[in-house]
């Protein structure tokens, strides 16, 4: 019921729901994607983020919001994880918009120790006391039917706080990925699955096909909003071993695929050539540039070309803007 109420509140998301339900010629909704300039992590953009969310029809008043950042590993010199300033900016934007509860939750993919993830003192120190941080690796999970069945897995065991949230906001880092080309808000859903069920790493999802797993999760665990941390991304041998790539932007959208496709274009990747994004475009709106309405800063200001392993160079193209 809560999910339904949420969708009712957000007309744009209702259009997305319709897109998936209609057989035959589905209407192609216009997917707003907003680019916010954030040259460094010293800025507090919570006010701007709240304004964009409002413009996008995201209604948070009285809602339970779960922010899902990307914490994989901690390395002092590599921008592997969603920066804590971005997490704080989004959390505080949600509070501004009247969210009843804001939780930052992550099931880190490589590290069991939550000190290296959402229970790190540096994150807690900059968050409003009303924001809770939850280690999703260790705790209750709910069996959620796999609506995709590409992996052959009948269910996903999804961390309970994710299932119980009214609104799930995916907060990935803008990174290359040495198996998939890019990793963004859809791939970030792996972190909704507790390690006590899937291990460290979530090897089962790898063996079932990373792209299949991403798509099955995308069809089974709705992402209501995506904000890609592209302030400093990672190029080269991402998502762990790459190097910093400053882009200076946040990419915001109520359509996860539209956010990912736009972020990919900013990175110099043609999303239609990234296998899992192209396949997601068959059942989610936002892949094609024609479906996207860009707002905010001019994308040319941020568009670049991320270095990547040779095998993915064929995925790159452009200029896209």
């Amino acid at each position: 019921m809560k999910r339904r109420e949420f969708f009712k509140d957000a007309s744009l998301l209702a259009a997305a729901a319709a897109y998936g339900d209609v057989v035959g010629k589905p209407p192609v909704p216009s997917c707003p994607v907003t680019l916010l300039a954030m040259p460094d992590y010293g800025r507090d953009l919570s006010r701007e983020i709240a304004a964009v969310m409002t413009a996008d029809g995201l209604v948070l008043k009285g809602k339970k919001v779960l922010l899902k950042p990307n914490f994989v590993e901690a390395h002092p010199a590599r921008p592997i994880n969603t920066n804590i300033a971005v997490i704080a900016g989004v959390a505080h934007a949600c509070l501004r918009l009247g969210a009843a509860e804001v939780v930052v939750g992550e099931a880190s993919g490589h590290r069991r120790d939550p000190w290296f993830s959402v229970l790190n003192p540096s994150l807690r120190a900059i968050l409003d006391k009303k924001v809770r941080c939850v280690d999703l690796n260790h705790g209750d999970a709910v069996a959620v039917a796999n609506r995709g069945r590409r992996t052959g897995l009948p269910t996903f065991y999804v961390a309970r706080p994710v299932v119980e949230a009214d609104v799930l906001i995916s907060l990935p880092k803008m990174k290359t990925h040495h198996w998939m080309g890019v990793t963004l808000s859809l791939k970030n859903l792996f972190g909704a699955l507790p390690g006590i069920y899937y291990g460290w790493p979530k090897n089962l999802l790898h063996l079932k096909g990373i792209d299949n797993s991403i798509l099955d999760l995308a069809g089974s665990v709705p992402v209501h909003y995506a904000i890609v941390d592209g302030v400093v991304g990672m190029e080269g041998d991402g998502p762990i071993m790459g190097t910093a790539k400053p882009v200076g932007a946040l990419v915001l959208s109520p359509f996860a695929l539209a956010a990912d496709a736009t972020a990919a274009r900013l990175m110099g990747f043609d999303p239609g050539m990234v296998s899992y994004l192209a396949r997601a475009g068959r059942f989610m709106p936002g892949l094609g540039a024609g479906q996207i309405v860009l707002r905010g800063e001019n994308p040319k200001r941020f568009a670049t070309r991320f270095a990547c392993p040779n095998i993915f160079k064929a995925m790159q193209g452009g200029p896209f803007f």
Binding site: E73, H75, H110, R111, R112, D113, P114, W115, F116, L119, R132, V134, D135, H138, G139, D140, A141, A143, Y157, R160, G195, I196, Y197, Y198, G199, W200, P201, N203, L204, L207, D237, I240, M241
Partner: protein, 304 residues
């Protein structure tokens, strides 16, 4: 009600001062305050009882010499999670999930004298094999070695393999071919400059970062390889990194790994005690808290 028999409580180094009994009592009470009516413990307050925090709590109670009756409810809960094939599941509602928990549960069964449960668990552990693969030149490791997976039908990783090696060794199967191969896998996955990541030592010629918890756990599992030059690199790394380790989990495993190889852990134990005493309640993961108690006790819980 008396504590566990003294003969079961072997101490690593009696010269290392233990925290005062009163501090143990406070920490133990804090741990027990997480107990749920079903006898189990959750990872974090507000969650359901789960196998790992419950079995580690039982081991912690054993380690600190708590009254034997105090471990009965967690043990009863743990036994209820054992399937007919000997495996342990995450919780009663998901009986096919969490086979990796069978190995740490076997350690609890061993320490607390549940022989039938132990035998069934060990049989199950021996029935599980990780996937193997052809060697890949990008990964400087031997993919043909068999260890233990987190999930059936997947590859072997450091933590489930280390738990299985420890359980089999304590269960009298330290020289079993699977145990020996498990140790070989752990040695193979050691990062050349010391320590363990979650699984691979390097990728594309770049070493991965060592993790404190998997490093400590692997060192416990490789106790019988003590003295091997390659292990010294990992022991030295942990020794030299003591000031960098800040988390409860990292400190607990660093103490456990170093002390079972006879290294001095006095400083680490002091910091571990401080962290445990000051930890905000919402952040207490009872599994890690139990590991902390076991580490502070100085008792040989995971080593023969």
């Amino acid at each position: 009600m008396g504590g566990f028999p003294d003969s079961l409580l072997q101490v690593y180094n009696t010269l290392v001062p233990q925290p005062p009994a009163s501090e143990f009592a406070v920490l133990t009470d804090k741990l027990l305050s997480f107990s749920r009516p079903d006898g189990g413990l959750p990872y974090y307050r507000g969650n359901s009882s789960s196998a790992e925090p419950t079995l580690l709590a039982a081991l912690a109670l054993f380690a600190v010499g708590a009254p034997e009756a105090s471990s009965k409810p967690p043990l009863s809960f743990l036994r209820s999670l054992q399937n007919l094939d000997g495996s342990i599941c995450v919780d009663a509602g998901k009986r096919d999930q969490g086979l990796w928990l069978t190995a740490p549960a076997a350690i609890a069964f061993h320490r607390l004298g549940l022989k039938d449960n132990l035998k069934n668990a060990l049989d199950f552990i021996l029935s599980v094999r990780s996937l193997t693969a052809l060697n890949d030149p990008r990964l400087k490791q031997d993919n043909t070695l068999t260890g233990w997976p987190w999930v059936r039908g997947t590859f072997g990783w450091v933590e489930p393999t280390a738990w299985s090696v420890i359980a089999l060794s304590l269960g009298g199967l330290g020289e079993h071919a699977r145990t020996l191969e498990g140790r070989k896998l752990l040695l193979d996955r050691q990062i050349p400059s010391g320590g363990w990541n979650y699984g691979n030592p390097s990728l594309y010629d770049k070493e991965l970062l060592p993790f404190w918890d998997t490093t400590g756990l692997a060192l416990v599992a490789l106790k019988d390889n003590s003295g091997a030059a390659s292990l010294d690199r990992s022991l030295d790394l942990l020794d030299e990194s003591q000031d960098k380790i800040e988390s409860l989990r990292g400190l607990a495993w660093a103490v456990l790994g170093l002390q079972c190889h006879g290294r001095d852990t006095t400083k680490l134990r002091k910091r571990l005690l401080t962290v445990m005493k000051s930890m905000p309640e919402p952040e207490i993961d009872t599994a890690n808290f139990s590991l902390g108690l076991i580490a502070l006790s100085g008792k040989k819980v995971f080593a023969a």
